[in-house]
Symmetry: C2
Subunit: 340 residues, 2 copies
Amino acid sequence: MKKGSVTIKDVAKKAGVSPSTVSRVISQNPRISKGTADKVLQCMKELGYYPNAVARSLASKKTGTVGVIMPTSSEDIFLNPFFPEVLRGIVKGASQSGYDLLLSTNFEKDEELKVVENFIRSSKVDGIILTYSKVNDQCIEFLCSEDFPFSLIGTPDIHKEKVNHVDNDNFQAAYQGIMDLIAEGRKRIAFLAGDKNLTVTQMRLAGYKEALRENGLSFDENLLYFGNFDEATGNLYGKVIAELEERPDGIIVTDDVIAFALVKSLQEFGIKIPEDIGLVSFNNSILAALANPPLNSVEVNPFKLGEEAMNLVVQAMTKGVRGKRTVIPYEIIYRNSTGT
Amino acid sequence: MKKGSVTIKDVAKKAGVSPSTVSRVISQNPRISKGTADKVLQCMKELGYYPNAVARSLASKKTGTVGVIMPTSSEDIFLNPFFPEVLRGIVKGASQSGYDLLLSTNFEKDEELKVVENFIRSSKVDGIILTYSKVNDQCIEFLCSEDFPFSLIGTPDIHKEKVNHVDNDNFQAAYQGIMDLIAEGRKRIAFLAGDKNLTVTQMRLAGYKEALRENGLSFDENLLYFGNFDEATGNLYGKVIAELEERPDGIIVTDDVIAFALVKSLQEFGIKIPEDIGLVSFNNSILAALANPPLNSVEVNPFKLGEEAMNLVVQAMTKGVRGKRTVIPYEIIYRNSTGT
DNA sequence: CTGAAAGCGCTTACAG
DNA sequence: CTGAAAGCGCTTACAG
């Protein structure tokens, strides 16, 4: 902070009013007469006055900032194009509502809770956005126990009635994806996901199971694969699946990065996509379009997810809204990876 | 902020010391005796005390946070994989040095200066990171005039002796890229960049010119192309170049997203890469590897750029360092797009 | 090694 | 509509 910067007192003196009055014109208190307000405003301008946000925060007990909890940045998931888009949406929401954004700096794994606690306990933020949702998330637990305003991108598996969250209908998206595969005559469909402990994985898994069930297809534990959101996972399971005695004829993959690598890997083993194995993926990143064949992929609108997450914290902070769920429509982008 | 949270006074009372003393143990002042320190620490733990960051900031005139100015988020450049990597590096640096990160929320264009002014004038940050550097940047101008601690990713074209910055040797990288093209017998080499007003563009352009000059190749204004960091730009100039009477036989492109689209576009016009036109690109994103043919691309190490940018602001804030330049090595990743 | 006191720059009942 | 006063929760010379 710059020394000797002009304060509310300087403005008050110059305008011939009390500091209280200056404070009131800053906060646009309607009970100030137009005359004094104009005079004060004029003086503020002449002195180059700028309210000190820190002092304001201390006195008002409001920071005007929202903490954004991103995935641990040492992990691959941070690089998935999904998150920059989410962040863009959050930024848009923030710029509209006038909030600042404090970014989580958890570089190491499993530090999210520490970051959340720190943000709250040391009074750095008025609200929090959790940009992804894990199964049995300690952050959710903590935030709910404090009744601290926050929103979640994804669907919580606990305290659902208390947490504002925005998500796609991932059950339905997976269900529909599987139905498409089945419509093409696929009967033995595998499920490949990035992280078993994300609730999104669980929802999609549920949709997958339901579609199988409705079509009288048996559910096989052995066709469930989990890993990370990276190419390595795709490569790994390409080999695993290629070496299977009884291969699946369809796969649903929860992320394009994985799907892209998977397809390449399968092809190296001489497996043809979509002839031998049909495939649906998620996130509709550029990789889905670039794959050969181009992949059917579910557009989840991460930008809107982020924007809405911001709206939801704001509602939590300003109106005490809790437990509100917003659903962002998904769309399956059809290309050539399912069949026909 | 939670009402009735425990303050330094509560701790002081319980420990039977003065608030000053408690404050000193928080800041680990060495002049406090081990005995009292332990006693106070114990009381803090028992009461669940957590220092209020806002009050600390106000009293100490330090916020412990750094403002990060990202590209306007409504623009494509925000989505370029370069920036998430930069951000990851910044987060790593921040988590090591203990600073918080306040993110710019400039969604609309040309608002960076407003954001910077706001961060500084309202005392929200102790330092600033500019994640990209424009020609004649008003933010740099402002920050220098205030002598406010900041660092820049890229090379400033003004006040170079005052600004801490980290960059690759982009002159050399471009120079070397062109030399490679020339070594393959290319004689008419075009230059395609994303934004003319970034200093990185200017540096690379200079390297390009120098390489031409040294090899006695004439410089042709008409072979300079500028646009945005998006596919549209690549597509556009693919058509433009295809329709040229006298086509280039080599191109240097400052970003893989553009290069990727350009290659596809040129190929649609029956132009063969690298046979007809050799190509070098920058940023070594996944697209460079996926292109057909895979593209030679310059790895610029965005993660390290971000990490070092954080180090540089810290040095600016804590030690008053100014005008320090750090160079991050680049590496040309050779694939099949240049020739042979 | 420790304490009393002033102060950081605001906001906000309270009173008029 | 406006002011005086207390207070937000810390830090930091100053003094001992």
